[in-house]
């Protein structure tokens, strides 16, 4: 792809929109351009960004998952409580592995209904979301838990860059951005370079042709929802570490923030379309807006309205441009 082709992609356009917003923000408050703020945005992108990768895969397959926050909370709370009480010295990789396994197993339940029984993903995951949240509160625990494993606390303080800032404090770049990068690379590889990844596009874009060429839709969707579950489990552990406590009432309710980020990044609900570059730009846009309202000195009463307006303007610009390119 040469430079001219790149400038015509929707990702490039989205990047331009983001840069334009960024420049405006910097004019309003120069502190927005500080290293500390860029580090903070990077850290704030970690949870949304990783979840968005899972969501992207689901959207590409032609489905929609509304249960991932509930799955993340379930994995987070069960693993934190179990290890916090029984084996406080558990190393982080073990905790992450356990959470991914728990998440994948819950994803398997979604898979069963969606892939095997062919029920609509929207309805199934809406249902499982409530069931999982309920079970988590009833059987795992309904209270905030502070005595999380020591390795999680240590992880929360793992900064790969730490510099003095003007206010005499420290600006830190948290190590979790490496995990975000790894998940992006993995998802990109999966979607672009593997047979499985290409099959997901095929099943999502044109199920009839996919069946004709002999793709096993059931197996592919089985993978898709398990992947989302595993991703959610991973995010659960990161969330506990960031907050230094496990609160079973966190996360659930913020699903649409992630889905909006993915949709802004390009995929159309219906499947077969989308890529990781667009998605991560969508996440960047949403994160940047959500973490700037105090910095922009926007009165508290106006903040929600401003978020909504920027999202509408950002998406409208992109969609109008897409339509023009289709008719031209």
């Amino acid at each position: 792809m040469n430079l001219k082709q790149i400038t015509k992609t929707s990702e490039f356009f989205l990047l331009t929109v983001i840069l334009a917003i960024f420049v405006v923000f910097c004019f309003v408050n120069p502190a927005f351009f500080s290293l500390g703020n860029l580090f903070d945005i990077a850290k704030s992108m970690v949870e949304t960004g990783i979840l968005a990768m899972g969501c992207l895969v689901v959207l590409v397959s032609g489905g929609l998952d509304l249960s991932f926050m509930a799955v993340a909370v379930f994995a987070m709370h069960s693993v934190s409580l179990f290890f916090g009480r029984n084996y406080n010295g558990a190393p982080l990789p073990l905790l992450i592995l356990c959470a991914i396994v728990v998440g994948t197993l819950v994803g398997l339940i979604n898979s069963f209904f969606i892939a095997k029984l062919g029920l609509p993903s929207f309805i199934v995951t809406l249902g499982t979301s409530n069931v999982i949240s309920g079970l988590c509160l009833a059987f795992i625990g309904s209270k905030q838990y502070n005595k999380i494993p020591a390795s999680m606390l240590a992880f929360s303080k793992w900064n790969i860059i730490s510099v003095e800032n003007a206010a005499g404090g420290k600006s830190n770049l948290h190590g979790s951005v490496i995990i975000l990068a790894a998940v992006i690379v993995l998802t990109t590889f999966l979607l672009r370079k593997t047979m499985l990844g290409r099959s997901i596009y095929c099943v999502g874009g044109n199920p009839v042709s996919a069946a004709r060429v002999g793709l096993n839709r059931t197996k592919i969707l089985l993978f898709v929802y398990c992947f989302m579950g595993g991703i959610a489990g991973l995010v659960g552990i990161l969330h506990v570490s960031f907050q230094r406590m496990s609160n079973p009432y966190d996360l659930v309710g913020n699903e649409l923030n992630v889905i909006a980020a993915v949709v802004i990044g390009g995929p159309r609900v219906g499947g077969g379309y989308g890529n990781t570059a667009g998605t991560i730009l969508g996440v960047l846009l949403i994160t940047m807006i959500n973490n700037s309202l105090v910095m922009l000195r926007i009165p508290t009463f106006w903040q929600k309205a401003v978020v909504g307006m920027i999202i509408i303007i950002g998406t409208a610009a992109q969609i109008l441009r897409y339509r023009r390119s289709q008719t031209a």
């Binding site: 408050n29 502190a31 500080s34 500390g36 703020n37 903070d40 704030s44 949240s133 509160l137 309904s142 209270k143 905030q144 502070n146 005595k147 303080k157 800032n165 003007a166 206010a167 005499g168 404090g169 420290k170 600006s171 830190n172 960031f242 907050q243 230094r244 406590m245 609160n247 079973p248 009432y249 966190d250 659930v252 309710g253 973490n291 700037s292 309202l293 105090v294 910095m295 000195r297 009165p299 508290t300 009463f301 903040q303």
Partner: protein, 341 residues
Amino acid sequence: MKRKGLATLLAVSLMASAILGCVITVSADEASAVDLSDVTIVNIPKLLGVAWFDRMLPALDEWTEANGGSYYQSGPSTADAALQLQDVEDAITEGVTAIHVVPNSTETLEVAFQKAADNGIIVISHEAPGAQNVAYDVEAFQNKEYGAHFMKALAELMGEEGGYAIIVGSVQAQSHMEWADGAVEYQKENYPDMFLVADYVESGEDHDTAYNKTKELLKTYPDLKGIIGCSVIDPAGAALAIEEAGLEDTVSVIGTSIVDVAGNYLDSGAIDMISLWDTKQTEMAMCEATRILLEGGEVQTGDNLGGIGYESVVVDGKVIYGTAWVDITAENKDDDPYITE
């Protein structure tokens, strides 16, 4: 087969509880002037699962034990006004005797309160002194004074000079706004070298949001030297941001919280002081106010409503004020009634 067995079991247990209920009725009749055994109280906090509001349940346990009647708790899983309205509506449909509620947004619930009153249901609120359609609103203290109390503590920590910010759970949370206004008013009267850096910041009672907004405050206002957090997670979220930035000694954090949430930060010095009131005592006062209303009376200034800090209440219109706040620092952490672990 199995299902039939289950049904039988249910039926038997229902009958058993009905019989037990009768037994309790008899003993309760003797104890109290009015029959309180049919009383059903529903407690609707801002959100479920936080120690702060769970602490209301022991008061209901004790009160129903002593007076008869029963209670249950319902509420939203996030501090959401619309979801909470649903819980109030459900309680009205169930035909409970009394609704004890801590509103997320008083305005959203007013119509439902009126509907409850029309159905003969006693509504007693907490943290909503402006509520119009309730029988009484019970407050641990006068909100303005609580805010002034925070400002005195913060001014001492800040050396009576510099910028400060206030985090509220929601700008619709009337009590939080009154504490904040009370604090600002007291500062303007007494500490001319202090100033509020920005509009009140909203946390949505979410730890992550309080954390992120504090980070934004620190970046935007380098002269920030103090933070007051109004909702129970606000000081902890703010303290996490301050600890990560290494500013424990530069920026003072105080606010409403409990040791289970803020204890680690009291130890590390990121939080300097938290204040709280015992919701068990408040719930006890709400129950006693309910009893007085059921007996046909009304609450008057000087009445003893049972709870500690409510021995001699002040009644102003529909609002009942106690004198019940507790300050907690790293030294007296064990005085917190909410410690569970």
